[in-house]
């Protein structure tokens, strides 16, 4: 949470107020900074007894054992670490155009996580909200029927 607040503040500061913007050379480091920050959080949080951040990313709707969550968390940490390194490698070895392409292709990971979240977290919430609204509407209908 703290890390995301810091990263968010950085984004807002350089996006809205700072002129002439963030340092140009930082551009290629940005994805790496994010990936390695996330990897560090994944590794450090369990050590400090704060639970597994993978649970927050995927959602707690899966009935997995602690051991399974630990391995998922380690997997996320490994993937983020590697992606941060690969970003630097591509930025130094490949052309700028190819690096931009690589960077955007990494967004597929975000999409997969969003789809997971959509299916297992947002839809149950939507179902709950729908049932709540239906009950309210039914109650309102009964009330109005009695009135008229």
């Amino acid at each position: 949470m703290i890390a995301f607040a810091a990263l968010g503040a950085w984004a807002i500061w350089y996006g809205l107020y700072a002129h002439p913007g963030e340092p140009a050379s930082f551009m290629i480091w940005k994805p790496t900074v994010l990936y390695w920050t996330l990897a560090a959080i994944m590794i450090i949080a369990p050590l400090l007894g704060w639970g597994y951040p993978a649970k927050i990313i995927l959602g707690t709707y899966f009935a997995l054992s602690t051991r399974e969550w630990r391995w998922i968390n380690r997997g996320f940490a490994a993937v983020y670490s590697v992606m941060g390194g690969v970003n630097l490698l591509v930025a130094s070895e490949a052309s700028y155009k190819d690096w931009v392409g690589f960077k955007y292709s990494c967004m597929m990971n975000l999409l997969i996580i969003v789809l997971f979240r959509l299916n297992f977290v947002w839809l149950p919430i939507l179902a709950d909200v729908s049932i709540y609204l239906y009950r309210r509407a039914t109650a309102a209908y009964r009330y109005l029927s009695n009135v008229f």
Binding site: A11, P31, Y61, F62, A63, K103, V114, W122, I125, D128
Partner: protein, 430 residues
Amino acid sequence: MPSIEHKPEHIVELNWPGRASERVTLNATGKSGGAGEIFSIDSQPGLVAKIYHATTSQANLAHYRCKIQWMVDNRPALPQVPAEYQDIVQLAWPVALILRESRFAGFAMQKIAFDRTLELDYLLNRRQAAEEGFVADYGKLLTISFNLASIIHCLHEKRIAIVDLKPVNVKVFKAELYVSILDCDGFHIAADEFRSDAPQVTPEYLAPEFHGKAVAHPEVQDRFALATIIFRLLNYGIHPFTGVASDHKHYPPELAGRIQQGLYPYGKLVHKRVRKVPASVHETLPDSLRELFDRAFASVGYNRPSAHEWVSALAIYASKDSEQISPCSKGHLRFTGMPCPTCMRDALIQGAEVRRRSFLARVQTAPGRTLQYLKKTLRQTHSSPFQAALAQAQYTFVQLAPAAPISTRNRIALEILWIGGLLITYWWTS
């Protein structure tokens, strides 16, 4: 009775084969075709006249004259008809030339009693045939097929081919089951002393090798068209190239394209690209006929069965004495030893009707059932264990944890934070 005043152009001269001529008066019948108009002849009640349209070019008229003259002089020998059926006209063949002011105008032919006949096309649909007063059964259909093949065999022996052979050009005598072929002046003639082409074709009855080109072998074309007509007669009007695509390759929407690609699904060997239509009863036909159909539709050229082969194959079924056609337990006629095609067709149609009604009933009750399902889901009162399990989404491959002990409001707030994190991630990686 008021006297009829005839126009001068209706007074013509009949030129008989022995070159004897006779002056006659024509009366309009109101029937007209692509090439000419049909008139009745005052003094010849057994004949009708076909007068070519005034727009016909002189060159065409000259060709027609030669052709009709040859036809008048060379009438083909037709299958024998019993003495009591002598008034049956099997071929609307020209019997005399018609001259108007000494110039060729048309020809006279024997009159077909249309009130006793119906178009062969009507027999392809049993209901339509019944409305015309003809109750079709397999015995009658086989006899009609036999009679048609016999006439075509006689024509082929004289090196005459029909080319544009199709059901609408064939009339069937309802009681006697003999057939009449119309539009004889359009036939192809390949005699030693005279030759005339027949450019008119119908794609649905045209052999695959002649699509997009001239009919080089008219008799081969007749063999294909004859087999197509017999197949349709014996299979409830289903065209041999009507089918259901069984792969994802392009399936031509029109019959002509399917004929060209040889997409014949009713063979004894299964076609890879096309399946039979469910209503087909071709499996109730005997092997002798199915082999002829396979040769007609799965081979080319003179490999196709000739009209004579059809005559030989159909003769035993057209004859009552052979007992190759016998009644089924319900009284329908069927090929002896084979399943009854009528019963099979009734079962197929009835099955389809039951499925159609069931589908319609389901569609009509779908909104009510959906509402009921939703209500049961919301009230958690599903009576069926399967539906209850489905409603609670208890899938075996993903075990979901019980609902978190936090309120929906807090869960939504948490998700908003999560989306914020996602946006920050997006900004940092883009």
